[in-house]
């Protein structure tokens, strides 16, 4: 078998079985819906009313709807790595690593499954947006783009999470690092305010933050009338390159979990 065919096939085998595990996991779907609801209904409503944010010609609620979607994808994905620490404390990681499965397929397969899991957040944010009167773009192409962006973004951040898990190896340290990283990633992005409002140094940091490009891509495709800051192709390029690098780093570090 050609190595690339083998790699793709094994990636989807890992994804398939990760998704099979979710059958009994409906409570998680409900609890995960809470956070974006709070951000949109409370934070969003308050800031929209006071006109505190200058978001140009689009209303503030329209502006943050894609931002909150990106944020909830980030929050769900960034703690994904705890699963591999759990699997390491059992013997599951060791057994997979002793099999001939390519390491990159183990990493990317798990990433994709996180991506597909996170699609439910899209449904929730679309529902809330409808409720709040956000003007959405319902063209099939736009919806397809949003779907792909959610999967890619969750793959990116869950792989990042897996890389952290491979380095820290214990649950306690992982939770600590996860907490420390999420808020800076969120605040140093264009999710809830335009980068133009930021001081120069923060604006620079936000341009190095992959979440900024996820938000920009989502904003471009989700809203009825919005223009992209960086261009949709550039957003995709940044997301894909970052994910590829993280998968390669993850494949390199994954065997550390067996030692």
């Amino acid at each position: 078998m050609h190595p690339l065919t083998g790699f793709i096939e094994k990636t989807f085998v890992i994804t398939e079985f990760e998704l099979r595990k979710l059958r009994h996991d409906f409570t998680e779907l409900v609890t995960r819906a809470l956070q974006p609801a709070l951000w949109l209904l409370i934070f969003g409503q308050v800031f929209a009313r006071n006109g505190a944010m200058h978001t140009g010609n689009i209303p503030y609620l329209d502006f943050i709807a894609p931002g909150i979607l990106a944020q909830s994808v980030l929050f769900v994905a960034i703690f994904y790595g705890i699963n591999v620490i759990w699997e390491r404390d059992l013997g599951i990681v060791q057994k997979f690593l002793a099999s001939p499965t390519p390491r990159a397929a183990l990493v990317l397969g798990k990433g994709f499954s996180a991506g597909i899991r996170t699609l439910s957040q899209g449904v929730i944010v679309y529902g809330l947006s409808l409720l709040l009167g956000v003007k959405l773009n319902w063209s099939p192409l736009a919806l397809l783009n949003v779907l792909v962006i959610i999967i890619l973004a969750a793959t990116l951040f869950s792989t990042f999470s897996l890389v952290i898990a491979c380095i820290v190896k214990t649950r306690e340290r992982f939770m600590g690092v996860g907490q420390v990283l999420t808020m800076p990633l969120f605040f140093a992005s264009n999710a809830i305010y335009p980068t133009d409002m930021m001081p120069g140094w923060l604006k620079m940091v936000s341009h190095l933050n992959p979440l900024t490009y996820v938000v920009d891509a989502l904003r471009t495709c989700m809203l009825a009338d919005s223009t992209s800051t960086f261009g949709l192709s550039f957003d995709y390029l940044v997301i894909l390159v970052t994910t590829t690098v993280l998968v390669l780093v993850g494949a390199r570090l994954y065997p550390r979990l067996a030692t």
Binding site: E9, V13, H24, D89, L90, I92, K95, A98, P100, T259
Partner: protein, 274 residues
């Protein structure tokens, strides 16, 4: 007859030479040299911290050696890791099947990962379930399995692809005597049916005595004794038991060394299996 047995046993499947692993200044495995023949049941004994698990991790390519070399089924663990991985099965000490999948699904994923031909997969899985006496429970979530069933499923999972060598790290830890006997019955049958070489570590001397063709005793990373149980007992003079042999070579029958993480992992495993 003896000559004939020697001929069929003389096919070396595992060759370890000067295998060494250091963690900082601590030498976990120190210039280990031994070879195991195809079809042999080989037990690696020693107190906690003697280097047994580190040895198995190196042989299963999970941990690179600091120096030395080993060949498993003809493949080098340092330069042909993928070849080694295709030729072996591995049952770690801790629970290695997924509780949120069914028994059948746990086998199906490994059938796919080991590239079993698609048309053979279902037949092979059915055979493995039958062999391990798990057919009736195949569609249940593994989280509901008993300890003995979990171990049998793990062995089924690790042998679906008919490995030449099956590595087992403390395969019966945490199991009650009846479940232990059932696991061993299946392991012995497996060797008889498929000629699988079994390489395992254990704390239970009586297991080594009743099932092993040969044993090796490790102490502080070094190989201290190697041979059949009878040979080792005889080497101490008449009337000695394997327990005497163990105390003679491993210094003490008491567990020494070992760290908090290993102990808590072992107890957690025992709890989950029990």
């Amino acid at each position: 007859m003896i000559h004939f047995l020697e001929c069929i046993m003389s096919d070396v499947v595992l060759e370890i030479k000067d295998l060494t692993r250091r963690f900082g200044s601590f030498t976990a495995v120190d210039a280990l040299t031994l070879s195991v023949n195809a079809g042999e049941v080989f037990g690696l004994l020693g107190s906690n911290g003697a280097g047994k698990t580190t040895t198995i991790k190196m042989l299963t390519t999970l941990l690179p050696p600091t120096s030395g070399e080993a060949r498993v089924a003809g493949f080098s663990i340092t330069t042909q890791a993928v070849g080694v991985r295709r030729a072996i099965g591995y049952v770690p000490q801790a629970v290695s099947v997924d509780g949120s999948l069914t028994g059948y699904e746990n086998l199906l994923i490994f059938a796919k990962l080991y590239d079993l031909p698609h048309r053979d997969q279902q037949a092979r899985i059915a055979e493995a379930l039958e062999f391990m006496n798990l057919t009736a429970d195949a569609k249940r979530l593994v989280g509901e399995y008993s300890g003995g069933m979990v171990r049998r499923l793990e062995i089924a999972q690790s042998t679906l692809h008919r490995p030449k060598v099956l590595f087992l790290d403390e395969p019966t830890v945490g199991l009650d005597p009846i479940a232990r006997d059932a696991v061993w019955k299946h392991l012995v049958d497996m060797r008889a049916n498929y000629g699988t070489t079994l390489f395992f570590t254990t704390h239970y001397l009586e297991e080594a005595e009743s099932h092993c063709d040969r044993i090796a005793i490790m102490h502080q990373g070094k190989l201290d004794a190697l041979g059949s149980c009878k040979e080792l007992e005889a080497s101490l003079g008449p009337g000695h038991t394997l327990n005497d042999v163990f105390i003679h070579y491993a210094g003490s029958a008491l567990d020494t060394g070992n760290n908090f993480r290993a102990v808590s992992a072992e107890r957690a495993t025992a709890e989950r299996l029990g």
